[in-house]
C-alpha cells in the first residue's frame, strides 16, 4: 500500500520510492531497503505497476515504476481496508 501510494504521484525508481517512504513517515518507517524490490516485482506481476528503463537525474540508467489503472484500484481497496482496520483498533483502544 505504501509503495502504491508513493507511486500515485508519478513514476519513480526504487531508490526514490525508498527515500519517499522514509521521508513521508518522518523516518519512522525504516525498512531494509532491498526488500522493496521483491515487492515491486510482485506488484509488476500483478499488473499494479509498470516498469520502464530510463535515465535518472544523474544520467544513469534506472528502472522507473509507474502505477497502472489496476494499481490505482488496488490502492483504493487497500486504503479503505486500512482505514477500517485502524478505525476499529482506535475504537477498541479508546473503549478499553
Amino acid at each position: 500500500m505504501l509503495i502504491l501510494k508513493t507511486l500515485a504521484r508519478g513514476p519513480l525508481h526504487g531508490y526514490e520510492i525508498a527515500l519517499r517512504i522514509q521521508q513521508s513517515s518522518e523516518d519512522v518507517l525504516k525498512v531494509e531497503e532491498g526488500s522493496l524490490y521483491p515487492a515491486l516485482y510482485r506488484m509488476e506481476e500483478q499488473g499494479w505497476v509498470e516498469a520502464e528503463w530510463g535515465a535518472s537525474e544523474n544520467n544513469r540508467r534506472a528502472k522507473y515504476y509507474k502505477l497502472t489503472r489496476a494499481g490505482r484500484k488496488q490502492l483504493a481497496v487497500e486504503t479503505s481496508n486500512w482505514e477500517r482496520l485502524s478505525e476499529a483498533i482506535t475504537k477498541v483502544l479508546h473503549t478499553a
Binding site: H13, A18, G34, Y37, P38, Y41, G47, R60, T68, R69
Partner: protein, 190 residues
C-alpha cells in the same frame, strides 16, 4: 493493454534470459550506488558510505535470487500457454494436411507444423539452465575426449561452484589410483 505489453516484454526477456538477470542486478546495484552517493554527500568517507549502503540494503544475493525467482514463476505460466499454442498449431497443421481438399492448403499445413516444431525446439533450448548447458558441454567434452586430460573450468551449479575432477591425471592414473599411490608414498591427502 498493459497486460499485453507486459507479456510481450517478458517473452522478450525470456528470449534474452541472461540480459533479464543482468537487469535485476543493474537495478539493485543502482540503488546501492545512489545510497552511497547520498552518504558521501552527507559527509561520510567513501568506505563508510559503501558499508552503510550495503547494510541498509540487506543481503544482496538473497534479494537478487528472490527477484529472479519471481520472474521465473511468472514466466512458467506464460511458457505453459506458449507450449499449448504450439500443440494447437500442430493440430491445425495436421488438420489442414489431412482434411483440406485443395492442394494449396498442404504447404500451409506443413509450414504450421514446421514453425510449431521449431518454436518448441527454441523453447526447450531456452529452458535448459546455463549451468546445465555448461555441464552438458563438459559431458560432451568427456565423451569426445575420454583419454585427454581436460582442463575443466569450474561449473556453476545453482550458485554452488565446483571443479570436476579429471578422470585421468597427467600420468594416466584415475583418482582412486592417485589416492592409493599418494598414500603409499606418504603424501598428505587432502
Amino acid at each position: 493493454m498493459a497486460t499485453i505489453k507486459l507479456i510481450l516484454r517478458r517473452l522478450g526477456a525470456h528470449v534474452r534470459k541472461e540480459a533479464a538477470d543482468c537487469e535485476i542486478e543493474d537495478e539493485l546495484r543502482f540503488h546501492i550506488e545512489m545510497r552511497t552517493r547520498d552518504n558521501i554527500a552527507a559527509g561520510m568517507s567513501p568506505e563508510d558510505a559503501v558499508a552503510d549502503a550495503m547494510r541498509r540494503f540487506g543481503d544482496f544475493d538473497h534479494i537478487r535470487a528472490i527477484c529472479e525467482e519471481i520472474r521465473k514463476e511468472w514466466l512458467a505460466v506464460v511458457m505453459k500457454v506458449v507450449k499449448g499454442l504450439t500443440w494447437i498449431m500442430v493440430g491445425c497443421g495436421l488438420a489442414l494436411k489431412l482434411a483440406a481438399d485443395e492442394e494449396a492448403w498442404q504447404p500451409v499445413g506443413n509450414a504450421l507444423i514446421l514453425i510449431a516444431g521449431l518454436w518448441r525446439l527454441l523453447i526447450h533450448l531456452r529452458e535448459i539452465q546455463p549451468s546445465q548447458r555448461r555441464i552438458r558441454a563438459a559431458q560432451l567434452t568427456i565423451v569426445g575426449r575420454t583419454h585427454t586430460i581436460g582442463d575443466f573450468s569450474a561449473i556453476d551449479l545453482k550458485g554452488h561452484t565446483f571443479t570436476p575432477v579429471p578422470a585421468y591425471d597427467k600420468d594416466g592414473r584415475t583418482p582412486v589410483e592417485r589416492l592409493i599411490s599418494d598414500e603409499s608414498s606418504g603424501k598428505t591427502v587432502t
